[in-house]
């Protein structure tokens, strides 16, 4: 079970969180023309990376904040966690 540092609450066990997928995906702007291909990429297409990966988790049984977590998908090492409004660098 992972140990995740919620930027709001501190170190917590994985079972307080739910997973939210790739954190680098940006939702296309509302009301803007978008090609089928670009929309498909937003909705469906994800890289299944091996290695460092920025992903979303929600601290569901805690502060209910969505957070960004940089984790190695192979080793599960967690390098960094950010609040929802902090930019990935």
């Amino acid at each position: 079970m992972l140990h995740i540092k919620c930027p709001h609450c501190g170190m917590r066990s994985q079972n307080e969180f739910s997973y939210g997928g790739d954190a680098t995906i940006k939702r296309p702007e509302l009301g803007k023309e978008i090609s089928d291909q670009d929309w498909d990429n937003f909705v469906y297409n994800r890289k299944s990376l091996r290695g460092k990966h920025w992903e979303l988790w929600q601290h569901l049984s805690g502060c209910r904040q969505w957070i960004k977590v940089q984790r190695d998908t192979a080793t599960h090492e967690i390098f960094k966690t950010l609040k929802a409004n902090e930019e990935i660098s």
């Binding site: 079970m1 140990h3 739910s18 509302l30 469906y44 599960h76």
Partner: protein, 998 residues
């Protein structure tokens, strides 16, 4: 029965307390402190089971967790448990155990015919034979295997025992209480660290209990006892016996199973049977010791062949002789300790040492005791079927290839020592890159991935002095880092016998003309010849060889077999062992009972049960409940002898003709506040929300980004910047997360807050033509006329002093209202509704009637919004705004979603107007078409229409919009039903929707 193999004195057992037990129907007795194994050996019982594949007789091989043979079916306090190791099970009064793997009995086993036909069961036998023909699998092979194999029988009864889970944090977790565990725990504890010391066995001390050493001025055991009692007194230390750390997971989380009651005849009141600990440790010190390695020779699975360290443990801990004419077969000095112990107890052992001229302190001692030592000698084969009767021995050449002439000597046990294998399981599970240590011919931990260090024998360090020094130091250093506190412990003087190196010899060659089975894996019956076949057939990767031959795949996970298997592969392949590599170690280290893993979350406790504030009223009024997610909801209210069908029909009919009341507390409720709330709703829902006036409700549908309907419900504008959203019961949690996702991550510029208020409000739906009359009585001071409170209107009311929210919304299709009050007043509100509604014939109705009412109205719910349908499919396309964008809108123009013959909701009526249609049935054009019969759609929900008094269903049907009036067939292969039906509109009642506005 007399304990003919029990020594007159000695051991750590309590001879004052006799304990009686039964094995295979016979009565025996042992002493307090015995294991089932030690007590059976004391009674001269050496045959305990049959092997998995060949059903060869099985005795005892070890004295603990490494035991591959002695697995029994245990009976305790009216319950039974399979796969119990007799070497681990402590004796208790009334214990009963039986052999497994033998039929009809351990002494006469029909399956043993496999042994004599073993040519049919080589490596990969299961893969080769049982592949073809396919039909044989079900009829012949599987029943055969099920009968002949297996390791006992799982109980099918409900387990009455309690198992608990515990979460714990500590600075240092130490796994094992041998010399390294005790020394490191002691120095870490002295530095003030929060320490957990876990010992798998009932006794602390590990090898200190059986080795002839001195620490300070004490014996090994005395030193261990004094350290343990001091640790137990320290408030920062938790000391646990019967507790095995079996898994090392990510981020230094380890799991430990504590056997609290397994050694007692009966679990004490309010005690659990076992407790599972989830431990998050800052540092882990692995002190799990090592396991003696067998030497492979002919018939080395015969009962009476066992590890030399086990023979010593039986003598020193339990006062039990494993034999009276022992042969000790060794390639190192450890065998001598066992031989000396025999000699001290008046037994004459013979030592066969594979080494030519070994010299050490302990060998001198053995010589001085006049023990018969044969150098450069090996056991070629054990003789005897159910017990060792003699051994074929021979001299072996210096290059270990040639055997001299074979002679036979009488013996009743063969104690084998092939040196020691570090127990690296936990280190390997943690991600540690293990490395091969040439000197000890085994793998040891290498570079750590997590905060873990391995100590003592588990790290390949076999001298006590070095072990203690290293462990004191590591315990001190690691804890100092955490506590910033140092209390150095002075290092005690250690006296131990110096030993010499071991002989890297592990497998005795076959004598000419003999074809003895030489076993590597004793539980799965994997012999040297099986590995040879696998390699001949082209298997190379050790992981493949393992799976093909099942080497190391039994419940002992190859604790005594893995390394010899690697040695064999490396020899045949002409590679060094590290080039072959070892298979992956996975948790659990040793079997853990499913009960412990599940814990308290069983049956009714597997999820929390949520009840509405009106629950006790429903109970008092004969409600029959149904699980709705985690909620308990009344399904119907039973009157007299009514069944579900009759009761729900009565309740639904009463709503259509008079008035009914339904508990709708379970609906998800979300409070939405903020200046941008309208804009937010406008993006979340498919329809327009910017112009909804205060005091009005609106029905809305929300989509996922892929265009699939996520949920529906009504949202009401309470005040300018305040909305009250309702969701379906099932989707309440998901919708809240969904809203939070968009507010926190996608549109943080929107000034909106959301919070769940599901528990804050109790809700009652009052529905039916007379519902307004009920409302008037409930709220005499409020204008609830059609003008005062029109359809989709909202107002606040005063329910005898209780503030209430009144929504004029309808799920049943009748004139209807939903009244919400604060949860604490829910029961009061409900009683008042029933009281004032009496004169109008009000009846409570449950979820079954609720479903009937919505189905015949064609209102969609969870069974249509099932994660596979878009708005069009549910005839909700009228709610799609073309003036604005919203979540998921772009997906709706995908090709499949705009197809001409896209599926759509329809109504389905059986032609005979009698036959009920099972939910989930398929719709087909031709009931006699050859399979696979093209499926046109499926039945999503069924009811008995109370309006038309015949069955009615909703279906999602291909090209549904053009199918009205068509005749099709409903097919349910599960229920073996074929029903001719007509497709009708999904709005079976009041298609114009006049009633809700009346």
């Amino acid at each position: 029965m007399t304990q003919s193999f029990r020594l007159e004195s000695g051991g750590l057992i309590n001879r004052d307390k006799k304990i009686s037990f039964r094995f295979n129907g016979k009565n025996y007795f042992g002493y307090e402190g015995d294991t089932l194994a030690s007590a059976l050996i004391a009674n001269g019982v050496h045959l305990i089971g049959r092997s998995f594949k060949y059903h060869r007789p099985r005795g005892f091989f070890g004295a603990g967790v490494d035991e591959p043979y002695a697995i029994v079916q245990l009976y305790r306090n009216g319950e039974t448990e399979p796969n119990i190791k007799a070497t681990e099970q402590e004796l208790f009064e009334g214990l009963e155990a039986k052999s497994v793997n033998c039929w009809p009995s351990v002494n006469f086993d029909v399956g043993a015919i496999n042994n004599f036909l073993k040519i049919f069961l080589p490596a990969g036998f299961y893969y080769k034979t049982f592949m073809w023909p396919k039909s044989f699998w079900y009829k012949i092979y599987e029943p055969f295997i099920r009968r002949a194999a297996g390791l006992g029988t799982a109980s099918i009864k409900h387990d009455k025992e309690r198992y608990e889970h515990k979460y714990e944090y500590c600075d240092v977790l130490i796994t094992g209480s041998g010399p390294s565990g005790l020394a490191s725990a002691y120095s870490a504890a002295k530095n003030g660290a929060k320490v957990i010391l876990a010992e798998d066995k009932s006794r602390f001390g590990g090898t200190l209990l059986t080795s002839d050493v001195n620490i300070g001025n004490q014996s090994g055991k005395e030193w261990a006892d004094s350290i343990v009692s001091e640790l137990k007194e320290m408030p920062n230390v938790t000391v646990k016996n019967r507790s095995q750390v079996f898994g090392y997971y990510d981020h230094n989380m380890l799991v430990m199973s504590e056997r609290i009651s397994d050694h007692l005849p009966k679990t004490k009141k309010f005690h659990p049977k076992q407790r599972l600990w989830y431990i998050r440790a800052k540092e882990v010190l692995i002190s799990s010791g090592s396991i003696e390695r067998p030497i492979v020779f002919g018939n080395n699975d015969t009962p009476g062949v066992m590890l030399s360290s086990a023979a010593k443990e039986y003598m020193k801990v339990y006062g039990v002789l494993v034999g009276k004419k022992p042969l000790v077969f060794t390639n190192n000095d450890s065998g001598y300790e066992t031989a000396i112990e025999f000699k001290k107890n008046g037994i004459e052992p013979i030592i066969l040492d594979t080494r030519k001229e070994p010299q050490s302190e302990i060998i001198e001692e053995a010589k001085n005791m006049n023990i018969n030592i044969k150098n450069s000698y090996v056991v070629v084969a054990a003789q005897g079927y159910k017990k060792v009767k003699s051994a074929d021995i021979a001299k072996i050449s210096d290059d270990k290839e040639e055997l001299g002439s074979v002679e036979n000597i009488k013996c009743d046990c063969i104690c084998v020592s092939g040196f020691w294998t570090p127990t690296i399981h936990l280190a390997s599970q943690s991600g540690n890159k293990t490395k091969f240590n040439e000197e000890i011919d085994a793998f040891v931990p290498g570079i750590s991935k997590q905060n873990e260090k391995t100590l003592g024998a588990a790290n390949g360090i076999y001298t006590l002095e070095e072990t203690l020094k290293d462990s004191f130091e590591k315990g001190n250093l690691l804890s100092k880092k955490i506590t910033n506190n140092e209390n150095k412990v002075s290092f005690p003087n250690v006296v131990e016998k110096k030993s010499t190196v071991h002989d890297k010899f592990w497998c005795v060659p076959l004598p000419k003309g003999k074809n003895y089975k030489r076993f590597l894996d004793f539980q799965n019956d994997v012999a040297v010849s099986d590995i040879e076949i696998a390699l001949k057939e082209g298997y190379r990767s050790i992981e493949h060889v393992k799976r093909y031959t099942t080497l190391g795949m039994a419940t002992d996970q190859g604790k005594t077999s893995n390394l010899n298997g690697l040695q064999l592969v490396s020899k045949i392949e002409n590679k060094v062992v590290p080039a072959v590599g070892h298979t992956t170690f996975r948790p659990p280290y040793s079997p853990v009972s499913i009960g412990a893993i599940v814990g308290r979350e069983v049956g009714k406790h597997s999820k929390p049960t949520r009840k509405s504030p009106m629950h006790s009223w429903h109970e008092k009024n004969n409600a029959v409940f149904v699980d709705a997610g985690v909620w308990l909801r009344p399904r119907y209210y039973k009157r007299g002898d009514e069944n579900l069908f009759e009761a729900s029909k009565r309740e639904a009919k009463n709503v259509r003709t008079n008035v009914g009341v339904c508990d709708v507390t379970t609906l998800g409720k979300i409070d939405i506040k903020g200046p941008d709330a309208a804009e937010f709703l406008n993006r979340v829902y498919t329809n327009a929300w910017l112009k909804l006036p205060v005091g009005k409700a609106r029905y809305g549908v929300m989509l996922r980004e892929d265009g699939i309907v996520m949920d529906d419900g009504t949202t009401t504008r309470i005040s300018e910047n305040h909305y009250h959203m309702t969701t379906t019961t099932a989707q309440a949690a998901n919708v809240l997360s969904h809203l939070e996702y968009y507010l926190q991550l996608v549109w943080p510029e929107l000034n909106v807050n959301v919070v769940s208020t599901t528990e804050q409000w109790a809700g009652a739906a009052i529905a039916g033509p007379k519902s307004r009359e009920v409302l008037k009585k409930l709220f005499p001071n409020t204008d609830v006329t059609n003008e005062g409170l029109p359809f989709m209107g909202y107002m606040e009311g005063d329910l005898l002093g209780v503030k209430a929210k009144i929504f004029r919304i309808s799920f049943s299709g009748e004139l209807a209202y939903e009244v919400n009050v604060e949860s604490d007043y829910g029961y009061f509100m409900w009683e008042k509704i029933i009281e004032v509604g009496e004169e109008f014939g009000i009846q409570p109705y449950g979820t079954e009637a609720l479903s009937t009412l919505r189905i015949e109205m064609g209102h969609v719910a969870g069974s249509e919004l099932d994660g596979r349908t878009i708005p069009y499919d549910n005839s909700l396309e009228g709610l799609l705004s073309n003036k604005k964008d919203f979540i998921g809108k772009r997906s709706l123009s995908r090709k499949a979603f705009v197809a001409e013959d896209r599926q759509k909701i329809v109504g389905v009526v059986p032609l005979d107007k009698k036959t009920s249609i099972p939910e989930g049935s398929h719709l087909v054009k031709d009931s006699n078409a050859p399979l696979p019969n093209p499926k046109l759609g499926y039945i999503s929900a069924s009811c008995w229409s109370v309006e038309h008094d015949n069955p009615f269903s909703l279906a999602i049907l291909k090209d549904g919009k053009n199918m009205i009036g068509e005749k099709l067939f409903v097919m349910s292969p599960l229920k073996n039903k074929v029903i001719p039906v007509e497709i009708v509109s999904s709005h079976y009642v009041d298609p114009k929707g006049e009633r809700v506005r009346s």
